[in-house]
């Protein structure tokens, strides 16, 4: 408790949390949320220009915001065909190479969606047409095995590869497409930034520093772990 109090006494740059959240929403293309957030913050938080004066970084991810929002929505709804169509229309370079990771993820997701509704014959056809080529693409071979294995189980959701049917898998694909679209930005300064948000980088640094520190202490005590922090420690705090 005492340690917690000491940590709480540290001061942060004003509005840095607000900035980080905004940055997250922008990066992943949560446009509607962002707009509500901005409207509600008008009175209480500084504008982008004021923020830059305070030494905050730039919000570069406004690029393709609406398109990214649309693509995310399509993928989250499992409508991969339309997602492909839109990508061909808006960002053909992303789907040009049909053996790319992005294409793999999209094709896999299409396959998964067939499985989800029990259209096994269609799944098999699709798999033969679009997934077979990926068996020779080393980085994805393992994941591909899991995907195809869905055919073997009934019900697939309860199998060891059932995780592919969860919403988190759709989100994973949506995030990959998001990153790919961001990478088409002609004004892109830092390719790394397409993959990770500021928030993620901060959380990784926190986790690693905590682990390193613990290593000096002969691995005693608990290191920081976000998942546990969010689900375990959270109790009502009274001042």
């Amino acid at each position: 408790m005492k340690l917690q109090k000491m940590v709480e006494r540290l001061t942060l740059q004003p509005d840095v949390s607000h900035w980080i959240v905004r940055s997250y929403l922008l990066h992943y293309g949560y446009q509607d949320t962002l707009n509500s957030f901005d409207t509600a913050s008008e009175d209480t938080c500084p504008s982008s220009s004021a923020a830059q004066e305070n030494g905050f970084g730039e919000h570069g991810d406004i690029y393709a915001l609406n398109h990214r929002k649309v693509l995310r929505k399509l993928i989250k709804n499992g409508d991969i065909d339309t997602a492909f169509q839109k990508l061909r229309e808006w960002y053909p370079q992303v789907v040009q190479d049909d053996t790319s990771i992005v294409c793999f993820l999209l094709h896999s997701q299409r396959f998964i969606e067939y499985i989800r509704v029990g259209f096994l014959e269609e799944a098999v056809s699709y798999g033969r047409a679009e997934l077979a080529k990926f068996f020779s693409v080393k980085p994805v071979a393992e994941l591909l095995e899991d995907v195809v294995a869905l055919l073997a189980y009934n019900p697939p959701l309860e199998s060891c590869v059932g995780y592919l049917l969860e919403m988190s898998q759709r989100e994973f694909v949506a995030d990959a497409v998001n990153a790919a679209v961001l990478s088409t930005n002609p004004n892109l300064k830092d390719p790394e930034s397409c993959m990770h948000t500021v928030l993620e980088k901060l959380l990784r640094q926190l986790t690693l520093c905590s682990l390193e520190r613990r290593a000096f202490n002969e691995d005693q005590g608990e290191a920081f772990h976000l998942h546990r922090e969010l689900h375990g420690a959270g109790r009502a705090k009274c001042s």
Binding site: A40, G57, F172, V198, E212, R213, L230, S239
Partner: protein, 242 residues
């Protein structure tokens, strides 16, 4: 026996002195960072927690739709809380007090400091619009009795009443009480009290985690030289000073 202990003690301190900090190169650090997995859904939860605790109802609703993340409290309760916050931010303190009591009369009953600050804000608003007589009456009837019970209340009351002594209120010594920031401060206090009464953590988790990062880096600085993040808004790694 005792001599050898002293000798060993000296050896020990010599060792600690000559141990320099472990240097971790950027390459190694970045490699290790790659191995740290942060789940997207956990980050979504963190963001949702921020939106909800800070009262961004609409944004929380939109985020729920756009990300599929469930908020950790009932969004309907946020609307009530936000109405109170907004009332204070607009200077409608009487309205805010009524709303808080509608929500839960225990909140103000169990929070004398909050109640005092709200009353103080009312006084400030009366002074702001130049209603001198009303302000004085209010101060005497509502605030003075509180001041008698509590030294710090009395001091704050005196500071506020002092505003009446100046023609150019905005530029007098306690002029900052008339600032919007004072309203925001009070609004924040109310917000926290309501959240607490709803058994919700009154603070969003994100700022705590940011502080934890600062702390973790400070702690690690004792033992190692490694790439640090010095600007939280950019999360840029800065090379270790060797």
């Amino acid at each position: 026996m005792s001599l050898s202990w002293i000798f060993l003690g000296q050896l020990d301190s010599i060792e600690t002195m000559s141990t320099s900090k472990k240097v971790i190169t950027r390459e190694e650090w970045e490699r290790k960072l790659k191995d740290v997995k942060i789940r997207k859904e956990d980050m979504n939860k963190l963001v949702m927690n921020f939106l909800v605790t800070e009262g961004y109802v609409e944004a929380a609703e939109k985020f729920r739709i756009e990300s599929g993340t469930e908020p950790d409290i009932d969004l309907a309760t946020i609307t009530d809380r936000m109405a109170v916050k907004k009332a204070v931010q607009s200077g409608n303190v009487k309205d805010a007090i009524e709303k808080v009591n509608d929500l839960n009369p225990m909140i103000l009953d169990t929070n004398p400091q909050l109640y005092f600050h709200l009353q103080q804000q009312r006084l400030i608003e009366l002074i702001r619009i130049g209603k001198v007589e009303e302000a004085l009456e209010f101060a005497q009837e509502e605030l003075a009795p509180r001041g008698e019970e509590n030294q710090s209340f009395l001091e704050e009351l005196e500071r506020t009443v002092a505003l009446l002594a100046f023609e150019d209120v905005k530029n007098c010594p306690y002029g900052e009480l008339l600032d919007v920031s004072q309203r925001l401060k009070t609004a924040s206090e109310v917000n926290a009290a309501i959240l607490t009464s709803q058994s919700h953590e009154k603070d969003p988790k994100l700022p705590s985690l940011l502080k934890m990062l600062i702390w973790a880096q400070n702690q690690l600085d004792d033992k190692a030289a490694y790439p640090r993040i010095n600007n939280l808004s950019t999360a840029v790694l800065e090379d270790p000073a060797i």
